[in-house]
C-alpha cells in the first residue's frame, strides 16, 4: 500500500516539478560551488527553534534539494557550516574545530539572532561573549527564529560566490 502511495507521490510531484524547474538553481551558473552546495549544520546551544525551521527546508514546501543543496553529516563533505545557537562555552572548541575541518572554499553562516550575537541568551554566563570571536560568519540571518524563506535566501547568497 505504501508503495502505491509513493507512486502517486511521484506522479503528483512531477507536475509541480515542471512548474518549479524554471526556478531551479535560481538561474545560477557560476561561482566556486557550481550547482552543488552542501551544508553542515552545527547546533551550538540552540533552543531548537532554528532547527525546526531548518527541517522545513528539507520538506516539500521549501525543498532545498531542487537547488542542489543538502545537509551532510561531516564538515569534511561540506561547503558551508550553518551555526545555530549562541555558542555555549562547552561547545566553543568544537565550533572552532568544525569550521577548521571544512575544506576551502568554505562559508560560515550564522542562523538566527543567537548566532548573530544578539539573541535572548546573549550575556549569559554559559555562552561566549561574542560568537564573532570564536568564528567569523560570512552570512548572517537574523530572526528568532528566521523564516525558512529567509534561510533559503541566505543560502542562495552564500552559494553565490562568498569565499
Amino acid at each position: 500500500m505504501s508503495f502505491l502511495r509513493s507512486l502517486i507521490g511521484l506522479a503528483d510531484a512531477s507536475r509541480r516539478w515542471t512548474r518549479l524547474r524554471r526556478q531551479s538553481h535560481g538561474g545560477f551558473t557560476g561561482g566556486p560551488f557550481g550547482r552543488s552546495f552542501d551544508v553542515r549544520h552545527l547546533d551550538a546551544g540552540s533552543c531548537n527553534a532554528c532547527e525546526l525551521e531548518l527541517q522545513a527546508l528539507s520538506g516539500p514546501a521549501y525543498d532545498i534539494s531542487r537547488f542542489g543543496m543538502g545537509f551532510v553529516p561531516s564538515p569534511r563533505h561540506a561547503d558551508a557550516v550553518m551555526l545555530t545557537g549562541p555558542i555555549t562555552r562547552n561547545l566553543e572548541e568544537a565550533v572552532r574545530l568544525t569550521v577548521e575541518a571544512t575544506p576551502h572554499p568554505r562559508v560560515v553562516i550564522a542562523c538566527g539572532d543567537c548566532a548573530c550575537g544578539h539573541g535572548p541568551f546573549a550575556g549569559s554566563y554559559a555562552v561566549v561573549d561574542a560568537p564573532e570571536s570564536v568564528v567569523h560568519a560570512d552570512v548572517r540571518i537574523s530572526g528568532c527564529p528566521p523564516t525558512p524563506q529567509a534561510i533559503l535566501d541566505a543560502l542562495m547568497e552564500a552559494r553565490g560566490g562568498v569565499s
Binding site: S74, P75, R76, E93, A94, V95, L97, T98, E100, A101
Partner: protein, 628 residues
C-alpha cells in the same frame, strides 16, 4: 652437484655455529647457511628448467622450499641479532642450517629410508628452533603439541609402506606395490597416507599444533615452516598414494575435499578472530593448505573428470605452492621485523607501523594481498585456476557429486572473502592509524639483510603477472599455469590504465593532500586508544558466525570501595572456543592418560610379576605364529 655443495655448506655452518666465539656465530654461520640455500635455489631452478621425471607438485615444492629457505636465511643474518651473545644463538644457527638441509632432503629423496631420515632430522631441528625461547610457557606447550602431532606423520607413512610390503625401499617401488595391492590394503594405505599428510599440513582436525608452534618459533624459522614445510606432507602423499586406483574408491577424493574445505573455513574464521599477528598468519596457512588439498584432489585424478580440468587443477596446485611460499615467507619475515620494532606480538598494541617502518610494512601489505588472493598480486592467479577447475569439474560429473562440488565452491568463495577481511584487519590495526601503545623496543634498527629479504617476495609477487603477461605477448608462455598469470598481468594493465585515467581526472590533486588533525566529530583530544582494536573489528563477523566460533566474554568491573556506583576500571576480554580441541583432542588425551595410568599397574616392581608377563607374551607370540 648443487646438493653436495649445499650439504657441505650446511654441515660446515652447523659446525661453525658450535665452535666459533658467540659474537661471530650469527654472521659466520648465517653466511654459510645462506650460501647453502642459494645452492639449493640453483638446484631447484635447474629442476624447474629440466624437470625430468619429477612431477609438477614436486618441482613446485622444491622451488618453494629453496626460495623460502634462501629468503629466511638472508633475513636471519640480521634478525637473529636478538639472540646474540647467548648460547641459544648457537642452537638457532646450527638448528636452522640442519633444518633447511633436512627440508630439502625430503624433497629430493628417492629412497624411503632417506626420506624418513631427512624427515626426522627436519622435525628434530625444527623442534629445537621452536623451543629456542623455552622459558615462555606457551613455547613449551607449543613444543609438546608440535612433537606430539608431528610424530603421527612418519608413523602413518611407515604404516602405509608396511602395508605395501614392497620389494625394495625406493619410492617408485613402494608406489607400484601400493598400486598393485588389494582393495582393503589400498584403503588402509590411503587413510594412513592422508593422516600423515594432514598432520604435517595442518588440515583440520590435526591442525592444533600449527597455531601454537608457528608463532612460538623465531620469525625466519616460522617463515620456512609455514611457507615450505607444511607442503611436504602432501608431497609425500602425492608420491606414494595409489592414484591409479582412485576412481575405484570415490570416497577418497571426497574425504580429501572435505578435509580441505573444512580447513579453509575454520582457518580463515580463526584468522579473522585471533589477536596475535603471527597466529593470524598461521591460521591463514591452514586455509591455504586446505585449498591445496582441494587442488590436489581434483588434479591427481581422484575424480572422474577430463584431462584438461585435471591439468588445470594440478597447475593451480603448483602455482599455489610457489606463490604461497613466497607470500607466507614475506609475511612472516616482515612480521618478525615489525614485532621486533614494536616490541609486541599483539595486534592491539601495534599501530602506525607503516609510517615508522615503511619498507617491511609495505612488503607485508603486498604479501598479504597475495595471500588473500586479491588482484593485482600473483596469488589471485592460483585462486582463479582453482575456481575454474572446480567449475569445470562440477560441469562434468553427475548430479550428486556436482552438488557437493558446488557446495565446496561456495565455501571456498566465502573463505576467500573472509580471508580478505582477516588480512585487512591485520594490516589496518597493526600498520595503519597510530600506535596504540607507547612501547618502544630497543631494536629500532632494521638491518639491510632484513630489508632485502622482505622486499624480494613482495616485488616478485607484484611484478610476476606483469612480466609473464609481457612475455606472453611475445608468445613465450604456453603452460596453463602461466596463462593464468598472464591473464592476471593483462588485468593489472587494465587497473594501471584505469588508475592513470582517474588520477588525471583529479588533475593529480588526489596525491597531494593537506595534513590536518582528523575531524572525529569535533572531539578536542583524540588519542590512539580511541581507535578500533582487533577484537572490536572482528566483533560483527564473530556475531554472525557465533555458532562456529563460540565466543565467550569476560568483563571484570573494579568498583570504588566507598561507592558501589562509581567504577574505577573495567576489563574486557573475549576468548573463542577451540572446537576441534575440545571435541576431539581433550577427550583423546584424557583417555590416553587414563590408559597410561592403568598401564602403570603393570610396573609392579616385583620380579615374579615381570616374569609372568614375559611368559604370557612368549606363549601368545608362539600361538600367533602357529596359527597365522
Amino acid at each position: 652437484m648443487f646438493l653436495i655443495v649445499a650439504g657441505a655448506l650446511f654441515i660446515s655452518a652447523a659446525l661453525v655455529a658450535v665452535s666459533v666465539p658467540l659474537e661471530r656465530v650469527r654472521v659466520l654461520s648465517g653466511l654459510l647457511t645462506t650460501a647453502g640455500t642459494f645452492a639449493l635455489l640453483g638446484d631447484a631452478v635447474s629442476r624447474l628448467v629440466t624437470p625430468g621425471p619429477w612431477g609438477t607438485v614436486r618441482v613446485a615444492v622444491a622451488v618453494a622450499c629453496a626460495a623460502s629457505s634462501a629468503l629466511s636465511a638472508l633475513h636471519g643474518l640480521s634478525y637473529s641479532a636478538a639472540w646474540d651473545g647467548t648460547r641459544r644463538s648457537r642452537a638457532l644457527a646450527a638448528g636452522f642450517a640442519i633444518f633447511v638441509g633436512g627440508l630439502y632432503g625430503v624433497v629430493v629423496a628417492e629412497d624411503y629410508w632417506a626420506l624418513i631420515v631427512a624427515w626426522e632430522i627436519m622435525t628434530l631441528a625444527s623442534a629445537v628452533l621452536v623451543g629456542v625461547d623455552y622459558e615462555r610457557p606457551d613455547t613449551r606447550v607449543a613444543l609438546a603439541w608440535y612433537l606430539g602431532i608431528g610424530q603421527i606423520s612418519p608413523l602413518a607413512f611407515t604404516l602405509a609402506v608396511a602395508v605395501a610390503a614392497p620389494p625394495s625401499w625406493s619410492i617408485e617401488s613402494i608406489a607400484r606395490s601400493l598400486a598393485a595391492a588389494s582393495g582393503p590394503a589400498q584403503n588402509l594405505a590411503f587413510v594412513a597416507l592422508l593422516l600423515g599428510a594432514a598432520a604435517k599440513a595442518g588440515l583440520v582436525p590435526l591442525h592444533s599444533w600449527l597455531p601454537r608452534a608457528h608463532p612460538a618459533a623465531p620469525s625466519h624459522v616460522s617463515a620456512v615452516m609455514s611457507g615450505a614445510m607444511v607442503t611436504l606432507g602432501l608431497l609425500v602423499f602425492s608420491r606414494l598414494a595409489p592414484l591409479g586406483a582412485a576412481t575405484a574408491h570415490p570416497w577418497w577424493g571426497w574425504l580429501l575435499v572435505t578435509l580441505g574445505v573444512v580447513s579453509v573455513f575454520l582457518g580463515v574464521l580463526n584468522a579473522l578472530v585471533d589477536g596475535d599477528l603471527k597466529r593470524v598468519l598461521a591460521y591463514s596457512t591452514i586455509e591455504n593448505m586446505g585449498l591445496l588439498a582441494v587442488e590436489l584432489a581434483l588434479g591427481l585424478g581422484f575424480f572422474d573428470i577430463s584431462v584438461p580440468v585435471q591439468r588445470l587443477a594440478l597447475a593451480a596446485a603448483g602455482l599455489h605452492v610457489v606463490v604461497h611460499a613466497l607470500a607466507k615467507t614475506g609475511l612472516f619475515l616482515s612480521a618478525g621485523t615489525l614485532i621486533h620494532l614494536s616490541g609486541t606480538r599483539l595486534l592491539d598494541r601495534m599501530g602506525g607501523l607503516l609510517r615508522s617502518a615503511p619498507g617491511p610494512a609495505t612488503a607485508f601489505i603486498l604479501c598479504a594481498m597475495s595471500a588473500a588472493a586479491i588482484p593485482p598480486l600473483a596469488g589471485f592467479a592460483g585462486e582463479l585456476m582453482l575456481l575454474r577447475a572446480l567449475v569445470g569439474a562440477a560441469h562434468e560429473v553427475s548430479q550428486v557429486p556436482a552438488t557437493a562440488l558446488a557446495a565446496a565452491t561456495a565455501v571456498i568463495a566465502l573463505g576467500g572473502a573472509i580471508a580478505a577481511g582477516a588480512y585487512a584487519r591485520a594490516i589496518g590495526i597493526a600498520l595503519l592509524g597510530s600506535s596504540r601503545s607507547a612501547q618502544e623496543s630497543h631494536l629500532s634498527v632494521v638491518g639491510l639483510p632484513e630489508k632485502v629479504a622482505v622486499a624480494v617476495p613482495a616485488a616478485v609477487l607484484l611484478a610476476a603477472p606483469l612480466i609473464v603477461a609481457a612475455l606472453g605477448l611475445f608468445g613465450a608462455a604456453g603452460d596453463a599455469m602461466f596463462s593464468s598469470l598472464s591473464e592476471l598481468g593483462v588485468i593489472d594493465g587494465m587497473l594501471l590504465a584505469a588508475g592513470a585515467a582517474t588520477f588525471a581526472l583529479t588533475r593529480g590533486r588526489i596525491a597531494k593532500p593537506v595534513a590536518m588533525r582528523p575531524w572525529v566529530c569535533g572531539i578536542s583530544t583524540v588519542t590512539s586508544r580511541m581507535q578500533y582494536t582487533a577484537d572490536s573489528f572482528s566483533q560483527p563477523v564473530v556475531r554472525v558466525f557465533a555458532a562456529v566460533i563460540r565466543p565467550s566474554v569476560q568483563i571484570d568491573v573494579d568498583r570504588h570501595p566507598l561507592s558501589a556506583h562509581t567504577v574505577r576500571s573495567r576489563t574486557y576480554g573475549r576468548s573463542t572456543a577451540r572446537i576441534v580441541e575440545d571435541a576431539l583432542w581433550q577427550p583423546a588425551l584424557a583417555a590416553f592418560a587414563r590408559a597410561a595410568r592403568w598401564g602403570k599397574r603393570l610396573q609392579s616392581g616385583s620380579i615374579s610379576g615381570y616374569a609372568t608377563w614375559m611368559l604370557l607374551g612368549i606363549v601368545a607370540v608362539l600361538l600367533a605364529a602357529r596359527w597365522l
